[in-house]
Symmetry: C2
């Protein structure tokens, strides 16, 4: 234990607490590029939050206004990250392992940023959903925002 | 398609977008109890956000203030859900499938609510972490809040 400081040990403990959940990653391998790995982790959180919203919309879990607000809010916060801070130069598909980022992200930065604004707008609407009908009505626009960005800026599977 | 309204189709489309990620759940089976299933989904989102914070603390992904703030913020929002709205009566371990909720949750509601406040406090500190040192310093208290609650209110594996 001598090689570890107290804070490193605390970090390791916190990480171990969640090891069970972390094993079940949708990415079998973590990218060797720290920004690509961070993007994938961000997308996994978006996907998990979408899972809460989708399962609620389908009636698989009980409608819970607080949970819906938190899930939509989690997506909303992630949508407000400056995309240029994660989609850094030289991390397009082919240049960084596991990346699926199209070069259009860098040739059309305004268009890419707009997709994040669309995600923020659609998720903000869902943050205010007070019943199942409102949630269901907002799912299409949010799913559409995801799809539109993926179609324009995400390349084929590696 | 006649049986589906436009909004149902939109929900299905949104769900399909994330099917790949959703398959990789840490819970092989979804509880038949809607509240237990919702709790598990909530905890998966907490775990994914903890993964971002932990991977950043360990240097596996690049420090990104926006991503750290969003991950900590996602946990913070989930911490603010009224626990009684998800830990509903009759959903303790043994009563609802896949539940690991101890009966202490209902016999000591104030103590359980305090654990959520502790999670909110520790995650709020991390929302303001502007560098790696601040993040690392805040990981121990947050991991400790997780651990303390699990030790007091979560039963053994099913």
């Amino acid at each position: 234990m001598k090689a570890f400081t107290k804070s490193h040990f605390a970090i390791a403990s916190a990480a171990a607490l969640f090891a069970t959940a972390s094993v079940a990653s949708s990415h079998a391998t973590k990218s060797s590029n720290a920004d690509v790995a961070a993007r994938h982790m961000m997308m996994e959180v978006v996907a998990k939050n979408m899972g809460i919203l989708g399962s609620t919309a389908k009636g698989e879990i009980a409608f819970n206004a607080g949970l819906v607000q938190s899930a939509a809010g989690g997506i909303n916060m992630l949508a407000k990250i400056d995309p240029t801070s994660l989609w850094t130069e030289g991390t397009e598909q082919g240049a960084a392992d596991l990346s699926r980022a199209k070069t259009e992200i860098w040739s059309d930065p305004a268009g890419f940023a707009q997709k994040f604004e669309d995600m923020a707008t659609a998720s903000a609407v869902l943050m205010g959903a007070e019943d199942l009908d409102a949630l269901r009505a907002g799912m299409g626009p949010l799913g559409g925002a995801c799809k539109a960005c993926h179609e324009s800026y995400r390349g084929p599977k590696n």
